[in-house]
Every structure is written in C-alpha cells, then in structure tokens.
C-alpha cells in the first residue's frame, strides 16, 4: 500500500511539475492582458518539436560530460526560440487588439493556435515522432515504488526554473516591473512604466517555460505529436485557475495540486467506489474540480477573493 501511494505521489509530482510550468505562462499573460492565451498550449507543442530537432541534430555529441552540456544548450536554445516566437505572436496578433473587446484577442489566440497546430502537422509531421531520451533509463526502488531518474530530473529541473522565476520577479527591477504590469497595467503606466517591454518579456518567458515543459513531457512519454498541446494545455489552464489565475505562485501551486488531484483521484476512485467509477473518469474529475472551485472560490487558492465590487470593467467583454 505504501509503495502504491508513493508511486502515485511521484507520478503526481512529475506531471504536476509540467502542468505548473505551462500554467505559469497562462497566468502571467492573463494577469497583464486579461487574455486567455489559447495559443499557449501550442507553445508547449512547438517546444517539444524544436527540442526534438535540436537533439536529433546534436545526436552525435550525446553521452558523457559534453552530452550534458549539449543537453543544456538544447534547453536554452528551445527556450529562446519559442520565447521569440511568443514575442512575435504578441506583436502581430494581440497588440493591435489591446483596445478592442475582450473577446477579440481570445479569438485571435485561437486562430494562432490553429495556425501553429496545422503548420506543424502539415510541414513537420502528421505522425508522432519518437523523442530520444536524454537521460539513461536508471530507476530507484523507494519503499516499493519505482522512481526513474527522468522523473527526478523533471521535478528538480521544473522546481529550479520556478525558483529562478520567483527570484527574477521578486528581486530584479525588471521582474518587479513585470509584477506591477501583471497586477494592474493602468496603474503601472501611471507610475511611468512603459508596459510594452514587460509585456513582451512576459510573452518571452511564458512561452519559453511552456516550451521547456514540452521538452520534459516529450522525454517522459517518448513522443512528440502535433496534437499534444490541447489536452495538456487545457489541464494546465485548469491548474492556473485552481491556484488563482494572475498569481505566479498560484500557478506553481495549482500545477502541483492538479497533478496530485488527477493522479490520486483517478487512482483512488476505482478503489473508493468499488469499481463503479473507473479511472477513465480522470478528465471528468479534473473538470468537475474546476467547476466546483470556480463556483465556490473563483479566485482559486492564492488569488484575491473576487468580489462584485472589485470588478472594474462593466461589460463582460
């Protein structure tokens, strides 16, 4: 029993870390532009593909200390490449709509998501591509559970990235500007902050983190495919809401919470209901949690309590 629980815990933390990284992108963009960036899930997918090609190109250098350096170089390159893609998308598809209705940028994001998915499907590959594992398949036995090196790496790397982000937004001036703009763009402008640069930076970091999440996910499951963004993106979005959308620590917390809820929910539901509800209800579980949280605490766990007086805008969109 302990082994089963620890196994579920490890699985939960692994997928939770990935959700958390993607959720950060959603939450930062929503915080500043009040935009649900549907294209973000495709950043995740594109990141996985970019890493695939970079790893394939440097396959000859694999192994040993050089291999480790190359691996990190691939990560950096993926982050930068997809980050720049994010900045470009913001400039082309979201910035012109900043003063239009709230619905317009969302639909533009949707269009961008369709474009990205189809470009990859048509010009890269329709079928799943096998992602090379960049760590040896070592595993450890912990109290009856099997923990792979890959899982440890994913969790450790994701946590390191989140700590780096937290340091950045709390300590550096630029990071504080990002937080200010994320909290309230109008007031930030009143204080003399030019919001365009922090916004572009948010669209660099968010998609970049999503891309790294895509790389980690691809290494965990061994494949990349053009359709992998949708469901994972949706779940990461739920995670961002759980934690409180607009709140950076909220996204981190929400990601891990959703990973735990999903894994334990799906794992324990059959046991608790004696097989009446099976684990295929995992997704229903996730969505039901979302609906319940939004009904009873729309702000999520770390968001500010949303009151009707607090709603500054009058038209919903």
């Amino acid at each position: 029993m302990t082994g089963f629980l620890i196994q579920q815990l490890v699985n939960a933390l692994t997928i939770g870390a990935i959700y958390a990284l993607i959720a950060l992108g959603y939450t930062m963009v929503y915080g500043v532009l009040r935009l649900i960036n549907f294209a973000h899930s495709e950043m995740f997918m594109v990141g996985g593909h970019v890493a695939f090609f970079l790893l394939a190109a440097t396959a000859s250098l694999a192994g040993g200390p050089i291999g480790v350096l190359v691996m990190f170089a691939v990560f950096v390159a993926t982050f930068v490449a997809v980050g720049l893609l994010g900045v470009g998308i913001e400039a082309a598809a979201y910035r012109p709509l900043r003063h239009a209705s709230r619905l317009a940028p969302m639909l533009s994001a949707l269009g961008v998501a369709i474009i990205l998915q189809n470009v990859v499907m048509l010009f890269v590959s329709r079928r799943p591509l096998p992602f090379p594992p960049f760590l040896p398949a070592v595993s450890f036995k912990v109290f009856g559970a099997v923990v792979t090196l890959n899982q440890i790496f994913i969790v450790a790397f994701a946590v390191a990235l989140m700590l780096a982000l937290a340091w950045f937004v709390n300590t550096t001036t630029l990071g504080v500007k990002i937080r200010a703009v994320s909290e309230n763009p109008q007031t930030a402008q009143l204080l003399g902050i030019n919001i365009n640069m922090p916004i572009s930076l948010i669209f660099f970091i968010g998609p970049g983190l999503g891309a790294l999440a895509g790389t980690l996910y691809a290494s965990y499951y061994g494949i990349v495919v053009f359709s992998m963004g949708f469901i994972v993106g949706l779940k990461a979005f739920i995670a961002a809401i759980l934690g409180g959308i607009g709140s950076i620590p909220g996204a981190m917390l929400g990601g891990f919470m959703l990973g735990l809820l999903e894994t334990f929910g799906a794992g324990l539901l059959p046991m608790l209901t004696h097989g009446l509800i099976g684990s295929e209800y995992r997704d229903v579980f996730a969505f039901s949690v979302l609906v319940l949280v939004l009904i009873f605490r729309p702000a999520g766990f770390l968001g500010e309590a949303v009151t009707e007086e607090g709603m500054v805008y009058k038209r919903d969109f």
Partner: protein, 313 residues
Amino acid sequence: MAIVAAVVAALFHFVPGLPTYYVRVIDTVLIYLLLAIGLNMVVGYAGLLDLGFVAFYAIGAYSYAILASGQFGIHLPFGLILIIGGALAGVAGVLLGIPVLRLRGDYLAIVTLGFGEIVRLLMNNLVWMTNGPQGISRIDQPFLFGFALKTPRDFFLLLLPLVLVALMLAWRLECSILGLGWAAIREDQDAARGIGINTTLVKLLAFGLSATLGGFAGVIFAGFQRFVDPVSFGFWESLTIVLIIVIGGVGNLVGVVVGAAVLIIVPELLREYSEYRMLLYGCALVVMILVRPGGIVGRRYNPAWIIQKLGWR
C-alpha cells in the same frame, strides 16, 4: 413585406431543386443558424460569454438517439422528442445558470467551458446509456405529420420555416421587455440590479431559452445524421458557434445569419485544399479579427434597419 415573401417563396421553390450536396450544405447552415440564434441570446443580448453551448446541442441529439433507436428499443415519434429534447436541454440550461449567477466575465466563460466538456465526457463514459465512444447509430428515421424526413430536401423544408420562426421569435424577444432586461445586464449588471431588474430571473431565462433552442437543433441534427457520437460535441463545436456570432456581428441577428453562412460555406469551398483547409481557416480567423474585430456586419445593420429599409413600418 412583399419583398420578404418573394424571397422566402423563391427559397422554397429553388433550393430543393439544387443538387443534393448543396442542399445538404444549406441544411447544415440552417442547423448552425438555429444554434447561433440560441447562443446569441446569451452572448449577444445578455452579454454572458458561454463557451459550453454544445452541451445543450448534445443533450438534444442524444435524447433523440436514445429515445428513437435500438439502444433501448424505445421508438418515440420525432415530434414528441423535439419537445422532450428541447425541454431537457432547457432544464439543463437553467441548472447551468443557477450556480454561475455570481460569476462574471472570464470565470463564467471557463465554467461554461468546463460544463460543456463534462457533458461530452459523460456522453463518452456512460456507456450503458450512450454507447460511449462508438456512438449510437441506426437511429430511427424521423416522421413528422406522416411525412418521412429522408433526404436533405425534406429536412430543408422542415428547417427553413423553423429557422424563420426562430429568427422572428428572437427579434421579438430582443425588442421585448425581456430583451431590454438583457441589454441592461449586458451593459452594466450592477446598474441593472440597481434599477430593479431581477437579474437572476433574466439571466436564467437567457440560459434556459437559448438551451432549448440548442436542444431543438440537436434533435433535428440527430434525425438528419442518424448517428451520434461524443466527438461531434466537443469544445470545437462550441467555439464554432461562438465564432459564427462574433464574426458575423455580436448581438445582431443579421450578423448571425451572415456569420453562419460564411462559417459553414467557406470551409466547404476550401474542401479542395482539404489538407490546408484548417490552416487557411486559422489565418482567415486571425486576419478577420484584426481587420474587423466587431464582426462583418456592423451594429447599425440590425433587423430594425432591414425592416426600415423594406418600408415595413
């Protein structure tokens, strides 16, 4: 008046003569138009962003599939199921409306999205009732007043009057006191409450009425296609219907008609480039939103403008 009657008569006369493929496309346009008129009440009139509308479509379709096929051996008549399906969907709409009364803007959108997905997942997983991912096939052929609805032509003759009635009803509602209540909620919910509008009732009516229309469309769709499966009722469908309204022109019935026509016919025209179809669709969407964020048909050109142009009043 004469112009309108002439146009309608022309439609009735000429369209059934077209090749079956065209009639089928027009039928699809009409079904989506019915859905869009329903969603327009919630999104366009009342200003509540509902991203899970497909749930009511699914409820209507599955009601017909379950109650008129070999699934349970029940074979109720089409007309009866129209009423049952519409009522079930309407009740579901009100049930969705009750917990979301306090939510605004994006939170409402997300909850409705979640609700839509939950319904689809339930359809997928409640295998004993809905046959799960395999869907329900060999659904009964619908009979209405003794006439069999077999070919797309038959469905066109059923759908066109239905859609015209729905358009008229929607327009009358828009001009009614309920419609004014919706407009008040759309512009400023708090002020509306402040002047004494019962926002709860008005919102629930919006959800309920739109859901009923969605249910009707679903029942007809099931009779038309005679096969339902959960795949046709996903987030993508909800988005398509929202897009019809937004690209056509939000809150504007003329825009809704234009939007439905554009969003169904253009992908059909692009069928030749079937591989690149979705890519072009995405590009067209982004360009459209950037160029005309308000929709194709401007706010000015609403049914009142048309009525005025035709010299009806």
